[in-house]
Amino acid sequence: MSAAPHLEQPVPFRIFEGADGVKVASNGTARITVLDDSGRLQLRRAIKGLALKPPAEVLIPALNGLATELLADPAMAAEAAVGRLLQIVGMVPLIKPRHVEWAMATLGDVHVYTDGVDVIVTRAELTP
């Protein structure tokens, strides 16, 4: 499931009691309602991406390596040099730690998961 594309981090769902006491979870754009009294509604949340490497740890050895190559081959073709630089650019992850915000409704042994975009109905326990 994916986050709303226009936001850096997804909006958490909020659980509240709707009309007639039914349980409702909403993130402002999507809403999931549990009509049955025996149903359960909860949020399943996560922070993914902790422990990304600092860019310096990747860049310093790579740039040192390229500098060594350039010193050894000062006539390196421009295309080759730029190509090596672009390879280095690709080594640095630009992905930030991201939050995952799901609402999860359970009726019996069936779970309904949604992140506000996708809806999954399954008996399996899914984890972000």
Partner: protein, 162 residues
């Protein structure tokens, strides 16, 4: 409202906290939260080089009813390369981070996946502040490490909430 949850790194005898929710955790041979290239792990001629323990814990703020099923997991696939291990365990009580010397009491962090996570406490937890067990990580570099660049590895911390 949903809780505002942050990931804290704790250092020093008093467990000074640093918010790492949007940042990087640096496993090194020193007990601090600074992300720099100081105190690196070095490939040893024999045996293993060990990092200091890295103590992490979820912190709940804002308004929420209760949280449960706190857990941590990886993608299950280590990209760290031969001879580099990441070890993990859960600890209820904080202790001043020390340099590890073995993996006793730990499990390979990459055995913890979304299907088989490391539990940081079933709960339910209520109120604000740090909740659940600490996630303790250590890194081991063995003499068989190949060196060079390794890809980033990421962790997921997850919980249920009402």
């Amino acid at each position: 409202m949903a809780a505002t949850v942050t990931i804290l790194e704790k250092n020093g005898a008093g467990g000074t906290t640093t918010d790492k929710t949007g940042g990087t955790v640096r496993l090194k041979k020193a007990d601090n939260s600074t992300v720099d290239l100081n105190n690196p792990l070095v490939k040893p001629a024999s045996g293993s080089d060990w990092s200091f323990e890295k103590w992490l814990r979820l912190n709940f703020a804002g308004t929420y009813t209760q949280a449960s099923n706190l857990k941590a997991y990886t993608d299950g696939s280590s990209g760290l390369g031969t001879g580099i291990n990441l070890w993990a365990k859960a600890e209820a009580s904080y202790a001043t981070p020390a340099q590890a010397s073995s993996s006793t009491g730990y499990a390979n962090a990459f055995t913890y996946t979304s299907g088989a996570p490391l539990s940081l406490g079933a709960g339910p937890f209520t109120g604000t502040g740090e909740k659940g067990d600490h996630l303790v990580l250590v890194c081991e570099v063995q003499s068989t490490a190949s060196g060079g660049l390794t890809p980033s590895e990421t962790l997921t911390l997850a919980w249920d909430e009402i």
